[in-house]
């Protein structure tokens, strides 16, 4: 059921992240984005340097859009501080905190 190709998974993350719009009345994208980001993390060892850089740039966008995501957090998936996207309701600092954890 999952996405076999890591590049396709990153594309999914990018596409649904782009779908989070500040004036959007739809709510469907945030969980899809967070779960895709989690799936990428599960497969981080497969990423090329270029793909790591692309994900990092997308993470910048995720941080910028955190206000649209925060109302759906925390969740039962907010467990591991290294997976900082599950803690975006606490603010943008969670990314650095997660990297330091």
């Amino acid at each position: 059921m999952g996405i076999a190709e890591i590049e396709a998974l990153i594309d999914y993350y990018a596409r649904h992240l782009a779908g989070i719009d500040s004036h959007d009345r739809y709510d469907t994208e945030p969980p899809l984005v967070l779960i895709a980001r989690d799936d990428i993390e599960d497969r981080w060892a497969e990423l090329s340097t270029e793909q790591e850089q692309r994900v990092s740039r997308l993470d910048d966008v995720l941080i910028a859009k955190r206000a649209r995501i925060a109302p759906l957090l925390p969740s039962t998936l907010s467990r591991d501080r290294r997976r900082w996207w599950w803690f975006l309701h606490e603010g943008p600092q969670v990314r650095e905190q997660g990297h330091a954890a």
Partner: protein, 146 residues
């Protein structure tokens, strides 16, 4: 999750109370009606966002996949009060392919159709605040998703 867990538990309890206040025939009729839709509103908008999730080449392909999905007899039905909008949402989940049709009961309209990358995590995301509505020999029964 601390205080948030309490908030979610309240939301789940409220949704359960709503559903348990619906007569069994009315709930049966409502769930039956979910399979009878003939269109996904704003289908072009949703196709542009989610068509690629299904490998759908055209809006018509995507629309057909949506209709096939909502008519499946083996879907699981989850529902919640949305924490941001307060809408009563339904998630019609295909357990074998991760396809999800989302219905906004408050607006009486299908809200979206998409595919998740990881169904286990998607369902985990709703744990503690969603309600599952399960068919039993005596009719549909609402149960907390815990």
């Amino acid at each position: 999750m601390g205080a948030a867990a309490g908030k979610y538990a309240e939301m789940q309890a409220a949704r359960l109370a709503q559903l348990r206040g619906v007569s069994p025939p009315a709930l049966d009729a409502f769930i039956g009606s979910l399979a009878k839709a003939t269109a996904l509103p704003q289908v072009q908008y949703h196709f542009e966002r989610h068509g690629a999730d299904f490998g759908a080449a055209t809006t018509e392909d995507y629309r057909r996949l949506f209709l096939d999905h909502i008519r499946r007899a083996d879907l699981r039905y989850f529902t919640c009060v949305h924490p941001r909008f307060g809408s009563r949402m339904w998630y019609l989940v295909g357990m074998d392919d991760g396809a999800v049709a989302q219905y906004n009961q408050s607006r009486q309209v299908y809200w979206s159709f998409y595919r998740v990358t990881n169904l286990g995590k998607f369902l985990e995301f709703g744990r503690g605040w969603w309600v599952e509505v399960v068919r039993t020999p005596s009719g549909w029964e609402a149960k907390p998703w815990v």
